[in-house]
């Protein structure tokens, strides 16, 4: 069996890469995707702890995280389409006013 620490290290690395992408990317869709990457890293940690502690609650939480991510993607992408229509650009640096 693979030790739990390996999985947790991979989870930390993926989360860190998600943060790097979130900070450095300029395209609003890519920034949104980096949030999904961070959610995935957290899911991996949940599943690892669920296996480690012999308790299935962690996997139930992963289920809920995935449901929330799906809802978030639906609403967020609708907002992104509106922003792209109004600003004619997907660059976040052009989206610096709250008014749509």
């Amino acid at each position: 069996m693979v030790p739990s620490s390996y999985y947790l290290m991979l989870s930390a690395v993926l989360f860190g890469l998600g943060v790097v992408a979130f900070v450095f990317k300029r395209n609003i869709i890519t920034i949104f995707m980096s949030i999904e990457l961070m959610l995935n890293a957290v899911n991996l940690a949940f599943v690892t702890f669920s296996r480690h502690l012999g308790n299935l609650n962690g996997q139930v939480f992963v289920f809920f995280v995935i449901v929330v991510a799906a809802a978030e993607a639906a609403v967020g992408l609708a907002i992104i389409i509106l922003i792209a229509k109004h600003r004619q650009s997907l660059n976040v640096e052009r989206v610096d006013l709250l008014k749509l």
Binding site: V13, G16, A21, F24, R26, N40, F64, A71, I81
Partner: protein, 165 residues
């Protein structure tokens, strides 16, 4: 080295490469495809940990539904290459090394803090059955609440999409 450890390193390497590719690629559609690679290899890691149900919904919901939505929106908006903006030299030469340092340190401390953890017992075969029992007993209220959340999300997306200018 057992077959499982080799499998773990292959899947973990693919996942990390996909995440790096997400950052490096300048075209959003390539970033989206890299993210799909990360999600599929994570599904493999869930299978390796004996979480079959989570692996299945990872593929069906994440790679299947959410990423298709992303790709669809990228194509709908005809998103081109990311514009190069003049990032300040401070951000490039100090920020980037510092963020990678933070990443490595996070991984190091997590690994150090958990290296004493014993290798857990192998998973039971009837995990999905236990999971669904848990979902419909202990977590019944949150489970039902997620249906309201999804309903609200559908309504929100429709209202936003239909708004006339």
């Amino acid at each position: 080295m057992s077959a499982q450890i080799i499998m773990f390193f292959i899947l973990a390497g693919v996942a990390v490469l996909g995440a790096v590719s997400l950052i490096v690629q300048r075209h959003p559609i390539r970033s989206a495809l890299s993210l799909i690679v990360v999600m599929v290899s994570l599904a493999g890691l869930y299978l390796l940990q004996g979480a079959e149900f989570v692996a299945a919904i990872q593929i069906i919901v994440y790679a299947g539904a959410i990423m298709v939505l992303f790709v669809f929106v990228i194509m709908l908006l005809n998103a081109g290459e990311e514009e190069r903006t003049n990032v300040s030299g401070m951000a490039r030469y100090v920020g980037l090394p510092l963020s990678f340092f933070l990443l490595l340190q996070l991984a190091w401390w997590v690994g150090r803090g958990t290296s004493g953890m014993a290798t857990p017992a192998s998973s039971s075969p009837a995990m999905t059955r236990e999971l669904s029992k848990l979902l419909f007993t202990d977590f019944l209220l949150p489970f039902e609440l997620t249906s309201i959340l999804i309903l609200v999300a559908i309504l929100g997306a429709v209202v936003l999409a239909k708004r006339e200018n």
